[in-house]
Symmetry: C2
Subunit: 322 residues, 2 copies
């Protein structure tokens, strides 16, 4: 039998049975650990061909005989930025596209919270006041700009469409058409799109190209009153000018589930910026049954591909970073 | 020309032109006032056959010759509970079903906020803490129970369906089937439904029958951890036992856009109940362009019906209260 080291905190008995039932007929034996059992996992890993986990330090402990690292997360920036984590430079790296549903629900929630002025109404209620005529906006009939047309962007677009959005523009590296978008443009045309992006949703991987892609100059290109949502990587936004634009009332609000660094240091201007909704990197957390089920399903699917020598569905192009 | 008194605060120039262009060819002259011009509106009203407004006191000032009162709001409880407001007992009463979209967006927002633990995460962030593993739930695959299958209920069901809800149960007086619902049951079967209503959405008119429909006994029937959303009338919920069930952790949370009375008095237990999202009756406010456009459209449509002697689309059955 060829060995698989599985180190996850979220697996139920059913998930383990599912992995076993997929692996064994293919000649693989899975060994299960939780992140707390780092030492045991590391020892086992020395004889493993596959690692299914989400911990760079565990990967660093893997031998050169490791052939496939299946990362349970969607964001693999730590692995792409530090190739020395892989003792075997030819080791395959996959990520998990199981987060689209939960992150899209988060995006719909915070978008509605911004459009419907919840940061301000929250304050009204905390002060025991009764104000109810702040002008709101709607998803129905609205225009939305989504940076990133991967699993997350597509799931967001689908939901906005279902709620009557009038125009959904996507931006991606390739500019390749995707279902659910009215248009997808190459990200090289970002500066042209920003002046009409009243609702900007960022779902980009963390790469050298996306670092500070929304910088001071581009924040200034956004229309007055625009809303910014970020569920990709904190590094995509230059944070100080964002806080300034919020506090000056130039932007209508922002919802950040990702920041740089996480958590933000004490006294960071984003903590107290005007009309900001901060969440502690929760949009894709692993507490939702559906997300976990899908994570295991995608691993099993790629294990079948791996065993058969077929291309892996979740394969990451490490030169691109996603 | 037959006269129409229009007393609204939200009309744009385009709206007034639209009303004029509908009315004049039918032999009607509209006269426009804002609620601040109460005296002028009242004087004009003495020669009017139609009143398009949302103020019980203005209606009380109308003569017996008033034949149709088009209320711009959806909830007409004040008019049904106090027949003496009408000098002409045969005066037609219509309400406006223009709020479904905006209230449904509010419901999706607060439902997601409850399912995704935003009251708690809000507290985490206010305390500058970093906790991100609170178990969340999803609209996708979830079951939803909607009391009230009118314009609001239907719009909520549509959006939950679009986001992958697994089962949507409606309850209405008649139990008549409605598009978008997996089943609609008569409200007489409420006690049977509540024990599996993990997500209860209330969008009921304020009538004698709906008063305290969610009383102490029925709150106790809800499953542990259930969420309650109310966008109908505050009177539908017995508020003290709701606060107790929230504080005891029996219910997972509640989002109330309507309360009794509004605003809540100082020291009321709902202000500080656990995991509560209070909003000051904003879900259907008249600041959203779409809502206002639709309100005017529906009035114009019924004006054409009225002029032609056809039944009015928004006609209220005053004995039912909606």
């Amino acid at each position: 039998m060829r060995n698989i080291c599985v180190c996850q905190e979220f697996l139920t008995g059913d998930h383990k049975a599912q992995i076993r039932e997929t692996a064994e007929p293919l000649g693989f034996a899975p060994w299960f650990f939780t992140p707390e059992q780092f030492g045991e996992a590391k020892a086992c890993l020395q004889d493993c061909e596959v690692l299914y986990a989400h911990d760079p330090e565990l990967l660093r402990a893997a031998p050169a005989s490791l052939k496939w690292y299946c990362c349970a997360y969607a964001g693999v920036d730590p692995y792409c930025q530090e190739p020395s984590l892989f003792a075997n430079p030819g080791c395959l790296l996959t990520n998990s596209n199981c987060y689209g549903v939960t992150i899209a629900e988060h995006v719909v929630m915070v978008l509605l919270m911004l459009l419907r002025r919840m940061p301000e109404y929250g304050e009204v209620v905390r002060n025991r006041e009764w104000v109810n005529q702040l002008p709101i906006r709607s998803i129905r009939g609205g225009g939305f700009t989504i940076l990133g047309t991967g699993d997350i962007g597509v799931n967001v677009a689908e939901r906005l469409r279902g709620m009557g959005a009038a125009r959904i523009t996507g931006l991606s590296r390739s500019g390749r058409e995707r279902a659910g978008f009215d248009e997808v443009l190459p990200i090289s045309r970002l500066d042209e799109v920003l002046p009409r992006a009243r609702n900007l949703i960022m779902a980009l991987p963390g790469t050298a190209e996306t670092r500070h892609i929304l910088n001071r100059e581009r924040i200034a290109l956004l229309p007055r009153g625009a809303y910014v949502v970020n569920v990709g990587r904190g590094s995509a936004i230059e944070q100080e000018p964002l806080a300034e634009a919020l506090n000056a009332g130039r932007l209508g609000g922002a919802a950040l589930d990702v920041m740089e660094p996480e958590p933000l240091p004490e006294g960071h201007p984003l903590w107290t910026a005007r009309n900001i909704i901060l969440t502690p990197h929760v949009s894709g957390n692993m507490t939702l049954g559906y997300t976990c089920d899908r994570n295991v399903e995608l691993f099993c699917e790629d294990l079948r591909n791996y065993a058969a020598g077929r291309p892996l569905k979740g394969l990451v192009d490490r030169s691109l970073g996603y």
